[in-house]
């Protein structure tokens, strides 16, 4: 019975369409790269994209960097925004609560399903990126090594654990957005409103990061440390931003989830 929310989420065509679209963009990028053979100017495009023509397996990380700033959080906003508001809109929320499912428990289940979606999304993007990269892009070296940002050579074992941590970190990075969408989802009966609200939160945060005057605010912005997964490919690994990023996301998760809980548990369900 813990799996009900997962069955609900992954039994829905919409979820698979979202995953498909999420994987489509990096695949198109890989296709054009393979077709034209022109890598972006180093430092101008998403991280690692300039290096994928040499080593196609790097595209697993490049694909994550491509979807991370916008596509992935949007997909998560949509899925998490739907969590409670979608049930309210369909009218099934009242029946779930009568079943009875405790409100706190329902919220935690919804969060669990959203986290599972994030994980599946990140893993699928990395996995599809790897396969597409190997098939379409530079498959020559197969040495399994990678040059770190610091100019040292990383062994396959190094790459493996760093990539595993990177995938975990990207997943954690999305928790803030997911919690925001979930909180908004308990405030309104319109899943679209909840998703849009979470996206506005996200875009606002990204925008403030580019404004110098907002510098005192920046360490607290949820997107501040998103790209820090790149730090895993420095040698030695620069952990401080990753640690700050994880701590920040956990704070957002804690605060927003508490807000969602305080609101949902004391709320009148009139949908």
């Amino acid at each position: 019975m813990k799996g009900v929310e997962l069955v609900k989420l992954f039994g829905r065509r919409r979820t698979w369409v979202a995953l498909l679209l999420l994987n489509l963009l990096p695949t198109v990028v890989a296709g054009t790269l393979a077709w034209t053979g022109i890598a972006p100017q180093p430092g101008s495009g998403p991280a690692f994209l300039s290096a994928v023509l040499a080593d196609g397996s790097l595209f697993a990380i490049a694909a994550l960097a491509i979807v991370l700033p916008l596509f992935l959080p949007i997909a998560i906003s949509v899925v998490a925004g739907e969590a409670v508001a979608g049930e309210a809109q369909a009218g099934t929320l009242r029946y779930l609560l009568i079943r009875p499912v405790g409100r706190t428990r329902l919220l935690l289940r919804k969060l669990g399903a959203v986290v599972a979606f994030v994980l599946v999304a990140v893993l699928s993007v990395a996995g599809v990126g790897y396969v597409v990269g190997r098939l379409l892009l530079g498959r020559a070296p197969a040495s399994g090594t990678l040059i770190s940002l610091s100019g040292s050579t990383l062994t396959p074992a190094d790459i493996a654990w760093r990539t595993a941590v990177a995938i975990a970190y990207v997943t954690v990075s999305m928790l803030g957005v997911a919690a925001m969408a979930l909180f908004l989802s308990t405030l309104t009966d319109s899943p679209q409103a909840a998703s849009l609200g979470a996206m506005a939160f996200l875009i606002g945060s990204s925008l403030l990061l580019t404004v110098d005057a907002a510098r005192p605010l920046q360490p607290f912005l949820p997107t501040r440390y998103w790209l820090s997964f790149v730090d895993l490919y420095r040698d030695p690994v620069l952990w401080s931003n990753i640690e700050r990023g994880v701590a920040l996301q956990l704070v957002y998760l804690g605060v927003l989830l508490t807000a969602a809980w305080a609101n949902f548990v004391t709320r009148d369900v009139t949908s």
Binding site: P42, G43, A54, S150, L227, G254, T258, A262
Partner: protein, 404 residues
């Protein structure tokens, strides 16, 4: 028939209710209601407490008592001087508020002094260290040994290997020069115990640090004061703030975000160009060295009473003068470069036309490009001097050359 068709009687329910209600149930109901309300507000209270705790956390951490060792400024200064060449590693951030209006060949310097630079440093000794400038998608790592300096640029996939810098060589400032230990060493080099006062101890990178304030008291200097905090454990400077005259905001602030005073491993600072990377041997372009290669156009041995520093690499076109925090350089620009720089300076809003030439002050950094019609050459003077001192220096230069 639907009930809606009937206007329904409105009567007090008690009149029509058959079953009576025991009077005891009402107060209990009230009590339950009250309890429920408290429980509701209690949940929001948890949220408010949580937010308050998270918001307060950084402030509380920053204000954690750091204790006092009772060491005064003079003692801290002595410890800083002793800490030179102690090993350390860390992650530092430099914030500059100086918007340089120049660009050609100086964009690296402009972004260093006018923006935020993050660096990682591993310092084993002055002949074995590494400083990486971090960008979101790349890094530029400089590995320095006794004989060579290798700069790895990830985004260019290129390594440039040059001979190690000679001490005191004329060159543009680099990012690593703003690392707190290196910046403090330069700024405190001439400081006397009488010039420094004690600042309250602070917490830098989570470690206790003792503070000192240097007021150079030099009437010609544009630097008002330099605040330095040194790691209590090792004496290594971990934070440096430089203030110009009359400024409440630091012109340049450099602080460690993470700091470790143990010696980094040799493998960290070692650099071997990776396979497939381009490797170039020789200098990178450096505007100052370019000017320095011109012949000496009659630089005096003292300007404003400051002696000229020796040039270890034989570049005679630029003279370096100054002491401690008061540092300036003088060089003669050839006609073409001078004209182009003059055009650039005229575009800057803060530029002032003086009889001696065009002057510009960016925070504590002053710049004067003299008019050759007045001073004979297009002298470029720049450094931590107040504007009046720059014009006086220009007059001295004319006098010296007139005499020669």
């Amino acid at each position: 028939m639907p009930l809606t068709a009937h206007p329904i009687l409105r009567t007090a329910p008690s009149r029509l209710r058959i079953d009576d209600v025991s009077p005891a149930r009402r107060p209990i109901g009230r009590l339950l209601t009250y309890v429920r309300r408290v429980r509701r507000s209690w949940r929001w209270g948890v949220l408010v407490a949580l937010v308050a705790a998270f918001v307060a956390l950084p402030f509380v951490l920053a204000r954690l008592p750091v204790g006092s060792t009772g060491s005064d400024a003079a003692e801290t200064l002595r410890r800083v001087e002793q800490s030179v060449d102690r090993p350390y590693s860390g992650y530092a951030e430099t914030t500059g508020t100086l918007g340089l209006p120049v660009s050609d060949g100086l964009d690296t310097l402009a972004s260093l002094l006018g923006g935020r630079t993050q660096q990682r440093v591993w310092w084993r000794s002055s002949t074995d260290w590494r400083a990486d400038t971090i960008t979101p998608t790349g890094e530029e790592g400089a590995h320095t040994t006794a004989t060579a300096r290798a700069v790895w640029d990830y985004e260019d996939n290129r390594a440039v290997v040059t001979e190690a810098d000679l001490d005191g060589a004329v060159r543009l400032p680099r990012a690593a020069d703003t690392l707190p230990p290196l910046l403090a060493a330069r700024l405190l080099s001439e400081a006397r115990p009488t010039q420094v006062s004690t600042l309250p101890a602070a917490r830098v990178a989570g470690r206790a640090a003792d503070g000192l304030r240097l007021r150079p008291g030099d009437p010609l200097s544009s630097i008002d004061r330099v605040d330095v905090w040194a790691d209590r454990e090792s004496g290594i400077p971990v934070r440096v703030d430089v203030y110009g005259r009359g400024a409440t905001k630091a012109a340049l602030s450099s602080t460690f975000l993470d700091f470790d005073d143990s010696a980094p491993s040799a493998s960290t600072t070692l650099f071997t160009p990776p396979p497939g990377a381009r490797v170039r041997y020789g200098q990178r372009f450096d505007l100052v060295r370019q000017i320095g290669r011109f012949p000496d156009r009659g630089l005096p041995s003292t300007v404003l009473g400051y002696p000229r520093a020796a040039s270890p690499d034989g570049l005679e076109g630029i003279g370096r003068y100054g002491r401690g925090v008061t540092q300036f350089a003088v060089g003669a620009l050839p006609g073409g470069s001078a004209a182009s720089l003059r055009d650039q300076l005229l575009l800057a809003r803060a530029a002032k036309k003086l009889p001696e030439g065009i002057a510009l002050s960016v925070g504590p950094v002053g710049l004067l490009l003299t008019d050759p019609a007045v001073t004979g050459e297009s002298w470029l003077l720049t450094g931590t001097l107040i504007p009046a001192a720059l014009t006086r220096a220009a007059t001295e230069l004319r006098a010296a050359n007139g005499a020669a």
